[in-house]
């Protein structure tokens, strides 16, 4: 039993999961928003509380979470026994 939730399946038979897909998407958003946030530090947008650099923070957070998911659920990853709330997610590999 692997921690891999649902195999999307490919010709190589590797376990490519929705969690990995989510990781990729969040990482793309993370890169985009971190760059936008860095630009907005120099050119603040006309929003309330712009001094808090929310775009940069959210961008960084998404990048960390996205990369975390990508690495944990990298196809053919060894780290399969992920525990969530103590309940093992054991889908078919």
């Amino acid at each position: 039993m692997a921690a891999v939730a649902v195999p999307l399946g490919d010709s190589m038979g590797r376990a490519f999961t929705v969690w990995f897909y989510i990781g990729v998407l969040l990482s793309i958003y993370g890169v985009l928003l971190t760059a936008a946030g860095a630009y907005q530090v120099l050119h603040p947008p006309a929003t309330t509380l712009a001094a808090y650099h929310a775009t940069l923070w959210v961008g960084g957070l998404l990048l960390v979470i996205g990369l975390g998911y990508m690495i944990s659920y990298w196809p053919r990853s060894k780290k399969r026994e992920i525990q969530h709330d103590g309940a093992e997610i054991d889908g078919e590999a």
Partner: protein, 571 residues
């Protein structure tokens, strides 16, 4: 071309925002295409091959419910009525979800049914199944159209999007990925959308609390903004103002919240509405199916942070910023309505890029709700209406094709009802009305079927019919004669929200009463035929022994304790 259609009205739409939204559309379509080759049988298409883990089923169980109305509508309700709106997330969901996981799920799962009407067929026979399938199909299409319209309207007013463009772009995307991959695609996209809803919406409560000076500052600002209204104490309390209809902003009594919402309304929705139950049926084994709604309950308890709290923040900051919100029926040109509170706050706090992510969150919420509706519709249509009534001997391949076509049909019919919904002024009222017509009587039928051996087929059929008809009857009665509200809701001070809660309660009682009387008057079903369907006639299969922290009961008890703590905290 898209940029031209998105010409900003209130918010200047930056190219970065458009890019973020475009990436989202590409991601959901991409997932649909990846999953296309895995939808080869009707079991694949309608039940995602029954292989989902507890986490995926649980998140999707919750996300299917987070439509556009759920996000924007309840933020609007909390702007209008304050913290009382959180009842719809806590007592109006958590006990029911835990009950579904612990008590009802074994019967749904062991009977190997494809749908809730399918369970009624096994338990009560064809007439009850067909009645519930037809009312479910009709309600689902109306709901998904109303959701679509609510979404498109906000996009039009706040962001200047073209109404037709918003409706078409979002619904075609949903149609493509659900038609390609069936329920598996709907579910996995719902998980993706759930992450994006949180990522995009989180900025509002966090910056909002910073701006208002935390919870204490927020409460002080709200109290000064609502100082002129009667019964203003209700804005910041869950329970302490529910002693009388007059003493709170909603015009409601605690019996309506506890019995109408917490028992009948919530149990009806979360345990018998196939839109959410379908996701749990896709779980890979009984333990996952039981854990899924319990995991959903944990996430559900957190949702008020991105829905109810923004409504309260809007109430604290928007009037001072010269933007007091008003209801749909009195809004003049240039005024904003309650429904726009969440988009307005996003514009207030989110700069280019982040605003795109916030809009993506709203679109994702809309799409997950819409996909939930059409995938449930297509399963009920194919299994419970088309096969028994129209073409009894359709084979597997035919049913799979019918699943794909009926998904498209569901989307097209929803677009039709979206334009139909434009003629109604109060959207929330119609949603509550639809629930009370179709969902609450159904809960009476299903729960008696599961827990009471003596309930018979004719009893269930006439009970369900009587419950639905009486609910519609009560609704018409109050429309024709507004003073009837005082009779139905037991108080001359009751407001429309109280009406819908008491209507749910009465229609459920009528359904149960008629089922009891007719069942005792008819011949009981043979004991053997109830095996696997009814409590007391079913051996729940013993699973391998799990440690305590992996058992559904452990997590349900912990969730119940957190739920009670929240009630006490915000009493």
């Amino acid at each position: 071309m898209i940029l031209a259609l998105l010409s900003g009205q209130l918010a200047p739409i930056h190219w970065l925002d458009t890019t973020v939204i475009a990436i989202y559309f590409a991601a959901v379509l991409g997932l649909g295409f990846l999953l296309q080759k895995q939808a080869n049988s009707s079991e694949d298409f309608f039940l995602a091959g029954r292989e989902m883990s507890a986490y995926i089923a649980g998140i999707s169980f919750l996300a299917a419910n987070m439509g556009a109305l759920e996000l924007m509508g309840w933020a609007a309700t909390s702007y209008q009525y304050g913290l009382l709106a959180a009842h719809w997330y806590w007592i109006g969901a958590i006990p029911a979800m835990l009950f579904l996981g612990l008590v009802m799920m074994p019967f749904y799962y062991i009977s190997r049914t494809h749908s809730v009407p399918g369970y009624l067929k096994l338990r009560f026979g064809e007439p009850t199944r067909v009645l519930s399938a037809i009312s479910f199909a009709g309600m689902t299409i109306l709901m998904s159209g109303i959701n679509m319209f609510a979404m498109a309207k906000v996009m039009q007013v706040v962001l200047g999007w073209n109404l037709n463009f918003s409706i078409l772009a979002s619904s075609i995307t949903v149609a493509v990925y659900v038609t390609l991959g069936g329920l598996r695609s709907a579910i996995l996209n719902e998980v993706l959308q759930f992450f994006l809803i949180w990522a995009g919406a989180l900025v509002v409560p966090v910056l909002g609390l910073i701006e208002t000076g935390g919870w204490t500052g927020l409460k002080a600002r709200i109290l000064s903004n609502v100082a002129g209204t009667p019964s203003n104490a209700g804005y910041l309390h869950l329970w302490s103002t529910l002693g009388h209809f007059r003493s709170n902003s909603m015009g409601i009594h605690w019996t309506g919240i506890v019995f109408g919402l917490g028992f009948v309304g919530a149990f009806g929705y979360w345990t018998t509405d196939f839109l959410v139950v379908q996701r749990v049926l896709a779980a890979k084994d009984l333990r996952s199916a039981q854990l899924a709604p319990i995991i959903g309950a944990w996430f559900k308890m957190a949702v008020p942070f991105i829905v109810i709290l923004p409504g309260l923040i809007g109430l604290a900051v928007l009037p001072a910023a010269g933007m007091p919100l008003v209801s749909e029926d009195v809004a003049r040109a240039g005024q904003h309505t309650y429904n726009e509170v969440l988009p307005l706050l996003l514009i207030r706090y989110a700069g280019p890029g982040l605003l795109g992510l916030g809009i993506t969150a709203l679109v994702a919420g809309f799409m997950s709700g819409m996909a939930g509706n059409v995938s449930a519709f297509s399963a009920v249509w194919s299994y419970d209406i088309y096969r028994p009534l129209i073409r009894p001997h359709s084979d597997e391949a035919h049913l799979l094709r019918m699943g794909r076509w009926s998904t498209l049909l569901g989307v097209i019919a929803s677009i039709g009802t979206a334009y139909f919904a434009m003629y109604f002024s109060s959207i929330m009222e119609y949603v509550q009305a639809l629930f009370s017509f179709f969902v609450t009587p159904l809960f009476g039928t299903v729960i008696l079927g599961m827990l009471w051996k003596r309930a018979t087929g004719p009893g269930a059929f006439w009970g369900l019919l009587a419950g639905t008809c009486s609910s519609i009857g009560m609704w018409v009665w109050v429309r024709a004669q507004p003073s009837a509200l005082a009779t139905l809701a037991l108080s001359p001070d009751a407001q429309p929200i109280a009406e819908s809660l008491y209507r749910m309660l009465w229609s459920w009682l009528i359904c149960v009463g008629v089922t009891l009387v007719v069942s005792y008057a008819t011949r009981p079903a043979a004991y053997e035929s109830l095996n696997g369907l009814v409590y007391g006639c079913t051996a729940i299969p013993a699973e391998r022994k799990y440690p305590m922290v992996q058992q559904p009961l452990f997590w349900a008890t912990a969730a119940a304790l957190v739920f009670l703590w929240l009630q006490w905290l915000f009493r």
